[in-house]
Symmetry: C2
Subunit: 211 residues, 2 copies
DNA sequence: GTCTATAGAAGGATAGAC
DNA sequence: GTCTATCCTTCTATAGAC
């Protein structure tokens, strides 16, 4: 077997990578097929040869990136650890992940906001409803000790996740008030510090939460 | 004086309102002058008569909306209240505000992310650097009691603000895991509950924070 | 598979009549 | 101020040669 699978040819990969960069940076509506072609070092016709249309190229990229994001978030909560350990691990790993993919949150959130139907074709693949319940069942004793009922879980989980995601999505807005945040080194070290800040913050809130 | 100011003519207002709606919904790149004209009940030529170009129409809208957002956030922190009272007031008022303007956060965050230079023309108007320091000075005694140093303020303030903003920006992503959130009534009542959840969460975290 | 050339549609902008 | 008609550029997409 000499040939690699057609669906993973070298050119296809180059196009996919270029498209990922451009879409992440400009969004679907702002992206140009020409720019993707340039970045991939080929011409427009070849984009259409491999991916048929802008829509299909976009969906291929979007689907992969959304999955990447969700897997990062959920993988950690599958592990065999206490709830608190999971929180700490999540903040640690997720912030590292986002430092490597700083534009990813904004890209995903915006595309979903502008075109909500975009997830419909993927929702079955992601069916994470079960996971949500599972988290509580797995830690119900520990969580009850913190005064967290099952019905509080959405509020709590959204709060935890926003600790890592929000500063990346809102970086430019933050920079309006704190101009140093435009500097990559400063912003990244701010986010590294945030691992501990967020963990302390959440643990203190849990421990002493009003019941 | 019969005539109202030309700059605030009825038509200009209609266009401005229509543009606001379309830009908020689709973003700059995704918005169409035709759609704005349709929604305003006039034709494209008139858009250009009043606002010259898509760019200028967009900037007019963006500037107003950014200011609206920032003023809502900062106004509260100017008041003569304790820090904790300000937090509670902020969550209460800001969540009410965002329920009325649910697409506003995503719109602003995305446009700034995609085109960071967009704020440059406005930054002077907003000069909020001073405010940031002021907040700490005004409450330094109270904040020290919570174990918050001046250098912790960015982490803390970003956390507070994300409590209200993030769920609106991430609504569609949240809905992937909690489908009920697609329902407006459910989502809004979730956000109303969040006022108390967030306040309790933050106060507990402050009170018992590791020094 | 990859390229050049070009079709064809869409969108922003303007000219000119009323 | 407002409209119709149209220009011109940009962008997606395809035809066809190699």
């Amino acid at each position: 077997m000499k040939k690699t699978r057609i669906t993973d040819s070298h050119t296809r990969q180059k196009i996919f990578r270029a498209a990922t960069e451009v879409f992440e940076l400009k969004g679907y509506a702002g992206a140009r097929m020409q720019e993707i072609a340039d970045r991939a070092g080929i011409n427009k016709a070849l984009l259409h040869y491999y991916f048929r249309s802008k829509d299909q190229l976009f969906m291929a990229v979007f689907q992969v990136l959304l999955k990447k994001m969700f897997e990062k978030i959920t993988a950690i909560f599958q592990a065999d650890l206490s709830f608190k350990e999971k929180i700490r691990l999540f903040l640690d790993q997720h912030i590292d992940f986002l430092i490597k993919n700083p534009k990813l949150p904004m890209f995903l959130l915006n595309e979903m906001s502008v075109n909500p139907s975009i997830t419909e074709s993927i929702k079955e693949t992601l069916h994470y409803g079960e996971l949500r319940d599972m988290i509580y069942e797995k830690h119900s004793k520990e969580l009850k000790g913190y005064g967290i009922r099952k019905s509080d879980m959405p509020q709590l989980m959204i709060t935890v996740v926003s600790m890592s995601i929000f500063p990346f999505a809102a970086r430019e807005m933050i920079a309006v008030m704190i101009p140093q945040m435009l500097d990559n080194r400063k912003f990244n070290s701010f986010m590294l510090e945030r691992k501990e800040f967020a963990a302390d913050f959440i643990f203190s809130a849990l421990k002493h939460r009003k019941k």
